[in-house]
Amino acid sequence: MSNPITSARGNLGRTAAAHVILIAYTILALYPVFLILINSVKQRRAIFNDPLALPTAETFDPIGFQTVLEQGNFLLYFQNSMIVTVVSLFFVLLFGAMAAFALAEYRFRGNLLMGLYLALGIMIPIRLGTVAILEIMVAAGLVNTLTSLVLVYTAQGLPLAVFILQEFMRQVSDDLKNAARIDGLSEYRIFFTIALPLVRPAMATVAVFTMIPIWNDLWFPLILAPGEATKTLTLGSQIFLGQYVTDWNAVLAALSLAIFPVVVLYLIFSRQLIRGITKGAVK
């Protein structure tokens, strides 16, 4: 380490190695997706005979997309998925952060118990309660509505959100909050103006982890809202895949259509996510 030249060379070597590893892993992560996309616009025979080839002028055939667009209602499904995901996410983050703040900030009787009670939900899949959830939704007249899905996903996301945010809320400096109290800020203002901004990186993390299972859930849309008007994208594509399973052109096209919006959504979101994370670190 004392010799600056060896050290620099070591760094260079390390950086090169880092890039090689990361590039290799990136290829591993993205290649399957790439494969679906290129084959979705090829002729049936070309898909089978040379799956790794890019589509050429000869083998190009958008028949799969035609089938999907004629038979499926993907725009509507996408809209439903968006509404459900965004609204659930909002409630999970807001209510989760509020509860986490209360648990981390105040000493009151039953604090520990309440924390454990809420954490219980991390351990149990909400699916185990499907039958009763269904009865509740039927009684409330919410079957085949997006509201039923939002309720379930909010309940499902809260435990983890509270659990993670609680850890981060505890790390918010007491001095800051106490100073604010001396300045006469209400507890609500302290939450919204001091605590919330400081846990933003954690909020971004929670957002991503809450969003993924909601967006990808197949179970509750199938049981609570299978109607055509409320189908989510995941359910819509699963049903479509089931219906067209022999028709690989349509299958690959449907997969491409299902992949595309999530990836775009994620790319938009990931900027926020990364910014949140780095800001939290620099702070």
Partner: protein, 417 residues
Amino acid sequence: MTARKTTLTAAAFLLSGTALMAQDVTLTIESWRNDDISIWRNQIIPAFEAAHPGIKLDFQPTAPAQYNSALNSKLDAGTAGDIVTCRAFDASLALFQKGQLADLTDLDGMANYSDVAKSAWSTDDGSQQFCVPMASVIHGFIYNADAFNELGLEEPTTVDEFFAVLDAIAADGSYIPMAMGVNDQWEAATMGYANIGPNYWMGEQGRNALIAGDAKLTDAEFVAPFEQLARWSDYLGRGFESQSYPDSQNLFTLGRAAIYPSGSWEIAGFRSLADFEMGAFPPPVQNAGDTCYISDHTDMGMGLNAASPNAEAGRTFLNWLGSSEFATLFANAVPGFFPLSNAEVTLDDSLAQEFISWRGDCESSIRPFHQILSRGTPNLSNESWGTSANVIRGGQTPADAAAQMQAGLASWYAPQQ
């Protein structure tokens, strides 16, 4: 509870913005026939809607292997469609007993069916019917006739000839002898065991003996089909262990495999995908001159969801299924699903004619475990999926497979104890 569920579901439908025209009723049809989706949407539905203004149909199939579970949970949830496609025998009987299928005994259209056809969807005493019989399917082997000509092969009639043909295709090397995989398991049981089995257990005779408790699954006639299945593995494509049903269909229709063990229900799909001539032969018999037995299974009926708010329109549709208009339309739109109604139907498709001609030459029987034998746990039909797949993969010997099934059946079925 059910009534409240229904009204609430109906209200939810309206609230959720499924904008319907004032008088128009839309009947949603649950089915496992995803292969028929375009036939329904382009031929059957327009014909019905033209004759019945005010009623619209929406055909919403689920993949076959998931159909029963999906349907059961949707019925429990009150989100199932109005019209339900019925599996034969016990699966649908159970739904009827749970009050989820409406009683159709007094439906006018029921007069158009023979008792044999109705038996698959009647209570054990035959007093009540809950599904309108729709179609039966016949098992057999479909082959690539161009490939057979090219290699100078004839349709085999005995088991020895069958394996000689397979050997010849394997020796030539340009085709995979047989397209079948065991990933989805049910092909092994349905297109394997239930397909070739009747020749060994002599069709209905063996099936009824099992139900009566006079025969056991460990008897020679029920083990022998497994022994033949075990020999199949040498002739299936590379990696057949993870080959799925759609994989097999694609393998055959792309012209890569010569023989496809299956049944008449594939005809419509294969006609649109394959660009070669196809032929079919019934399951080969053990010795030349033996009586041949075929699996001619009452496969599909249609019933009314008891919770449907559109019962009146639903009954109209079910009555229409009994008309000769529907029978002709269906038989020719979906060649290979042979209508069960008494209406006279002429079949245009040569392959479908070939299949149905076996009824004259051979004795018919239904699938072995569908009636009564699959009422308990473990479920014999489901067990046969696993054991048949295991035997083909080489994971279980024929004798072990039979012993496992017999033990499972005996554990709950009194006549076998």
